[in-house]
Symmetry: D3
Subunit: 237 residues, 6 copies
């Protein structure tokens, strides 16, 4: 097997729904780049601002949120994301936010962007915002007659997915693998470098070196050198 397998996403609309800025890169930056390169139109919905809790005692919170938006923008440009939406929900507090409120925030964007394919968080993550985003995405994409979304996947995020208790309730068991060897992996790591406020030092999970090793390890499970992996929740053909 040489070269990357082609993805069949030409003219498809792909929506990536995440809790916090940078989750989209950590979880599936290479796959986003590959989808974009193969002709998909990519939307990104970030449900919370990712800052209000983390920086709650900092006076210039507004500036930080603005800076993070700039990081997201630069990162998205590298990956080929066309549309960025903000869900404006409170960071690190989705567990005490009404489920229907988060549902609505996501449904609004699903209705506006009208995707064929949706990617989101895994609900076994230790991070409760991730869990809530998954659960609300599930509602927003429920298969009522006429539902346009035909594929629904979830991804893992280093420093959240592997820190949940490793039992059958929470373990990430992927069945879709995307070969990102080469340019797509490069784009992913470059996109991550734009998130300066989120990067940590190796061996922290949110370091470029860690991402490289994890992506290799995922690929080696299925005989290729570099991959991202996903759980298939629903494909309708």
């Amino acid at each position: 097997m040489k070269g990357n397998i082609t993805m069949n996403v030409k003219n498809k609309k792909v929506l990536v729904i995440v809790a916090h800025p940078d989750d989209e890169v950590l979880g599936m930056g290479g796959t986003i780049a590959k989808c974009a390169a193969n002709g998909a139109e990519i939307g990104l919905l970030i449900v919370t601002d990712g800052s209000t809790s983390q920086y709650k005692d900092i006076p210039n919170l507004h500036e930080i949120i603005e800076e993070k938006k700039q990081e997201t923008k630069r990162s998205a440009d590298i990956l080929g994301i066309k549309h960025i939406y903000y869900g404006k929900q409170p960071d690190m507090k989705l567990d005490v936010t009404e489920h229907i409120r988060v549902n609505n925030a996501i449904e609004n964007v699903v209705n506006e962007f009208n995707p064929d394919i949706v990617f989101t968080h895994f609900d076994g993550d230790v991070n409760k915002d991730h869990q809530c985003v998954f659960q609300s995405t599930l509602v927003a994409c429920r298969p009522i007659p006429g539902q346009k979304v035909k594929e629904l996947y979830s991804f893992s995020v280093p420093s959240s997915t592997e820190w949940s208790p490793q039992n059958t309730k929470n373990i990430f068991m992927p069945n879709l693998f995307v070969d990102i060897e080469g340019q797509y992996a490069e784009s992913k790591y470059n996109a991550m470098k734009e998130y300066k406020t989120e990067l940590r030092k190796f061996p922290h999970p949110r370091s470029i070196e860690t991402l490289e090793i994890l992506d290799s390890a995922v690929g080696l499970q299925i005989g290729i050198k570099c991959a991202e992996s996903f759980i298939v929740h629903r494909i309708i053909k």
Copy 2:
């Protein structure tokens, strides 16, 4: 949503691996017809003769096996199956057949037909031949570097899958749904009618009326009128 969703399988080679004649129709007759109609080349591997145990006290066993092969042929023609392979393993005895022997029987056909996509039984079925065929297919399609098989799915078979103990070890939890409303469902039921030796009276699971109801029920879960469902074991893109 009107009309069936198009499947993207043009020029793909699809191999269906089953334990006994008629499992391919019961499990995924409509999907086979849809794949064929959308340009896939379909192979069918039947691992056992499906008769030696069932008819063991009957003097003209050879004739029955021959007759069943004719049923398979006529049914396959309706569905658009091009190649039929026989694994020649003992019917209803795979549980005491060496695993590597069944592995080899399947690997030989996988190597010869060289499929992109493989469908087989679910290993939670109450029928042990089904379990063994799944497990050996898994070995035959293991993702070593260079493995051509990029998609591996399993299907349920009425009167086997739902009769296993309904616990987390054995329950069938599909995540791929194929819309077979209309012509594909018709082909499936017509193909099944060719298996006269296997049909039973309603409400037995192996009756046309039961198949119609079950296919409707599967579809209604995801908002369409008639569907078959599968578990995604591995997709590599």
Copy 3:
């Protein structure tokens, strides 16, 4: 097997605990009718009003709630439900309601009606109110010394149970099947027709035609023509 199997519930008190009006019919309308016909005394507890969120921007909310109560009453009469209780919790907001508050709402009715047998929602449903009602029912019926409730079951609700992620955390795996062929199924569909505000067009899960197909499919799993299914949580004999 001809005719329906007799249920042994004579003089037993059966309490059905649901989140919203119509869940009792969708989930177990036929079984309610069968229990009533076999001499049980049936109570129904509806934990929320089922309207405050759904119709929140409508000026005559109060009238809608009243109308829905009338639908419930007419439907209950068809099924043979004798007592209707309202839990008065906020619709679609149980996920942010204190667990002990919902526990209390249910415990009050359990203490008042004093049932032998309790049926409620499955906690794998995608609807969070269903999950919460299950969890609080579990507390209200916990097996302390002297607990009168000797049987606890949960049921599925079309358009909620099958829309959860189909994994081992959420899949509905029934082990109790009730044959409702004939009059009990008829009563169920007639009772559902009274819930005009909830009915949808086929192939939506909340249509009579869908219910008929799903009830057939459930029955065919166990060799009968029409059934409802349940998970046994606890039987004490």
Copy 4:
């Protein structure tokens, strides 16, 4: 709660299917006694002789088998078992015995005794004979149209069930509890005392003192003083 809950099994035929002599007492001796006392007709099928492997180097194997049959008979009399059947399969070798051969051994007795209710081993037990007996019982009682068996349960056996790896594949998760406080527990322990060849010294699981503690512990989970527990596999009403 004083006194034992009455079981509703009058005139029902109950078949207990076990791998080895004494499993019926260890697993459900109290429940057998209670069923018998409440008017059920009890059959017992012991699938293997329980001795050929255990005593394989002993010259008088035949005498030992005969002695064990006498133990079984005396024990059965205490519990109220009316019919004892022997499946004549090889002890400790069901894992390499053809599945259909064990199926047939069980189907023959199911057809002859024609039970309404069947109890058997749990398939998560560390003992492979137990696993095989469960799996073949499942086939023998599969819910084809007209199947008379309406209830199927499994029980645990001390020194087998709790020694399997405690994971979601193998853990025993009971949902039916039978109160055996008093006379039924007494009958159980007396019946066990007849199996002199199987009893061990406390704290071995196969000692009377251990059984007493385990039965207490099971009961205390649900607020009573002494109970046996079961998994409900299928109840049809």
Copy 5:
């Protein structure tokens, strides 16, 4: 095997994190006594006051809280607990308390006490405070580079763990067993007797007699006379 196995915890710091006063005794009183006797330094964090909900309508709530603290103190002295911390979160309301607030309450104590080993509740317990404490402990002990906590375990609590639905999501499947026969068991029951406000009459799970039977039953699973059991969540060596 005579005498108790020695635990290797000399000079280790062990932190026990519970939701309510007495959970530490019910869950692992004997193991605490054994750790202390073997040279560990024990800390106890009680996350809620355990009274505000239970006694909410009682005028002298403050006195009750004070009394319970005295019970905790006397009980802790018996077991050899050196440090008692209070998390000051609302009793029976952690399910509607922000996750990060509970995280912080626990992280503060983890940082202050700086344990090597942490024990906490099982997240399958029916009690939602237990679930929340587990989840926040998981966050507080997440394995970031440099994390000092090297062992993380959870325990069961009678009248909470066994009352959850017994399915693969919630069942307690222990893999660490601690032999507490003799003096450690004695200390446990004596410590429990200090919690006069929590003790109930046999056969309630919170009675000394019940604890004795349950501890015996746990031990007998692994061939010893009296034990406590735990789930290993993470050991790093």
Copy 6:
């Protein structure tokens, strides 16, 4: 955290039970080296010859088996393994070998070596010999009164564990992590290099480069640079 965490295994006897030569290195080579360096006495039991099936058409099979034994010896010397036992069961055929025969082969060595700690395969591996070895080890180490084995763990083997279907039945969910950074990892890779007949080219799972990446990925999950991981089946303290 600098330097490796010390393991407390001084004077403990550790038995590693594998199906085929090289499984001990692939699965836990670094941990073996670390145990040996910390004062444990290590035994290795290889249950099959690992060659009769793989090389079945080769005339000089005997020489190959001999050569593989030499590889094992050289590899064992590097790791610090003191005793090598051979179980002499047929390679790749344990699935059709009587369970009690494999049990006996393992029990004999357990009785002779008399270990405190046992490591073996994970029973979710796609390789059936691995599954059988696990199951028989479980029997050989069952916790009867007086059982000396106090710790039982299983490990994963690249190219077997990750190729099983990734579902809750088969997924490897480790909870024990051993830091092997530095010398222990070096010993592992050097030991593997002695198994010339088993090494494959990168990116095959059985290549040194793959092992390095996988060991890094395992470590990074818990904040360290290089680790091996295990499932805790039973620890008794």
